[in-house]
């Protein structure tokens, strides 16, 4: 492994730990914002004890959204990354913070909620999402009222409808 790579790992890991502990983004300085999309990652790590540890950026996402001036369209994209745990505790993901968006003064008229893993082993089907959110009455009511629109196992569209998205690919050989 190159010295550069070791240096990058140490540097980025230190910055990452700082970032993870933070950081609500303050959007109050953007008075003309019309469409806000927040992508929040949820991921799992196996601790030395063998327990699976879940980290979620969803609370930070909700706090960030609350700082925005009223937007016409709000999109929340939750990417659950199951790859680092052999059996991720998806049922244990805490969606309760979303209830804050159903309360006054937030009260968004329309929220698109995209949830996906991208993994055929752990797909977020509509039924799966329904069962995970069932314990949160406010969210269920908002879904029934058409405030929350659920998009199961789907990524949000790009922010600029005209823009292109790079194709992800895997090399078929080690050295490219």
């Amino acid at each position: 492994m190159s010295c550069y790579l070791i240096w990058r790992i140490i540097k980025e890991s230190a910055e990452f730990l700082e970032t993870e502990a933070a950081d609500t983004v303050d959007l109050s300085s953007l008075p003309h914002l019309q469409h806000l999309t927040v992508h929040a990652e949820v991921y799992f790590k196996i601790q030395i004890s063998g327990e699976t540890w879940c980290t979620s950026f969803l609370p930070t996402a909700v706090e960030t959204i609350k700082t925005a001036p009223s937007v016409q369209e709000l999109t929340i994209e939750i990417y659950v990354d199951p790859t680092d745990a052999s059996w991720p505790d998806i049922d244990g993901i805490d969606f309760s913070t979303l209830t804050a968006l159903t309360e006054s003064p937030s009260c968004y008229p329309h929220i698109d909620l995209y949830i996906y893993t991208g993994s055929p082993r752990f797909p977020f089907t509509r039924a799966k999402i329904g069962s995970l959110l069932a314990k949160h009455e406010d969210i269920v009511r908002s879904i029934e009222q058409g405030v929350f629109i659920i998009h199961p196992e789907e990524a949000a569209p790009p922010p600029s409808p005209r823009s292109y998205v790079a194709k992800e690919y895997e090399n078929k050989c080690t050295i490219m």
Binding site: S13, P31, P159, Y169, M176
Partner: protein
């Protein structure tokens, strides 16, 4: 509208060519679906062709993406079906390290595509690789990019991945109003008197604290009319700079809260 009819199947009515063509146009981002459609019927294969090649990757080796080509394979393919050059709108050139021979090979390909709308070189930042300097890449490659790809009247979107790129190169190309940046732009002398073309959509990924001064200097002149920002894992300072410059124009914001950068590095460490 053309009256030519296309047989969809033996049990369904025939549909006009234009309708089928319009439906396939929505599948431009799903090349595998288009590939499957092309196998269904020879007529469909003909219609689908111009969408199948909408977005292609040129890579130094084989990948799992259906429309990824090595240079020699693509040259051979184009010699057999030269009409395809008109269908390519997005060209994604992938390289992670200095690969001069490969980039010089690509040089001969770049002028062949007259309808490019988007050029990606490479598409994203590679956290496990150091940045490449634009001026260190082969002169022939740089010239081909600047004089052919960026110069096309159809070109409007540029994605700069693992390359430290002089953004003043874009100043002569007013059509380009979307920029995706994954490394700090190259430090350049800024001419205060020059009228700079304004970027309407900006995507930033992985810019770091040490990039902020160079970025701000560029941004102060180029994002005064910014409407859309996609912000992935970059330092807060840069985000605040963009908000400060574009607060009165920014309408669409995509904000990513992830561990992407170091996550990739840590996975790399675990793998090795």
């Amino acid at each position: 509208m053309s009256q030519e009819l296309v047989p969809v199947s033996s049990t369904t009515p025939q549909l006009p060519f234009d309708i089928i063509d319009y439906i396939f146009s929505f599948l431009k981002s799903h090349p595998n679906a288009l590939f499957a459609c092309s196998k269904a019927h020879p007529i469909l294969s003909h219609i689908v062709e111009r969408y199948r090649f909408h977005h292609i990757i040129i890579a130094p080796g084989p990948t799992d993406f259906t429309y990824s080509f090595r240079v020699s394979d693509l040259l051979r393919y184009l010699s057999e079906a030269p009409r395809i050059v008109n269908y390519v709108a997005v060209l994604q050139v992938e390289f992670r390290y200095r690969q001069d021979a490969y980039l010089e090979e690509i040089t001969s390909l770049l002028p062949m595509f007259p309808m490019l709308e988007c050029f990606m070189f490479p598409a994203r930042r590679y956290w496990t690789c150091s940045a490449l300097l634009w001026k260190d890449l082969p002169q022939s490659f740089r010239t081909a990019v600047e004089t052919h790809c960026l110069h096309l009247p159809t070109m409007r979107e540029v994605h700069v991945g693992n390359v430290v790129f002089p953004l003043s190169t874009l100043d002569n190309h007013a059509n380009i109003d979307y920029l995706s940046l994954s490394r700090s732009p190259e430090t350049e002398r800024q001419d205060l008197e020059t009228a700079h073309p304004q970027i309407k959509s900006l995507a930033l990924q992985g810019l770091e604290h040490e990039d902020s001064e160079v970025f701000r200097t560029w941004a102060r002149k180029h994002i005064l009319e910014l409407q859309t920002l996609k912000y992935d894992f970059s330092c807060h300072e840069i985000m605040l700079a963009v908000f400060g410059i574009s607060s009165n124009t920014l309408k669409n914001l995509y904000l990513s809260l992830t561990r992407e950068g170091p996550g990739e590095l840590l996975s790399h460490l675990a793998y090795h």
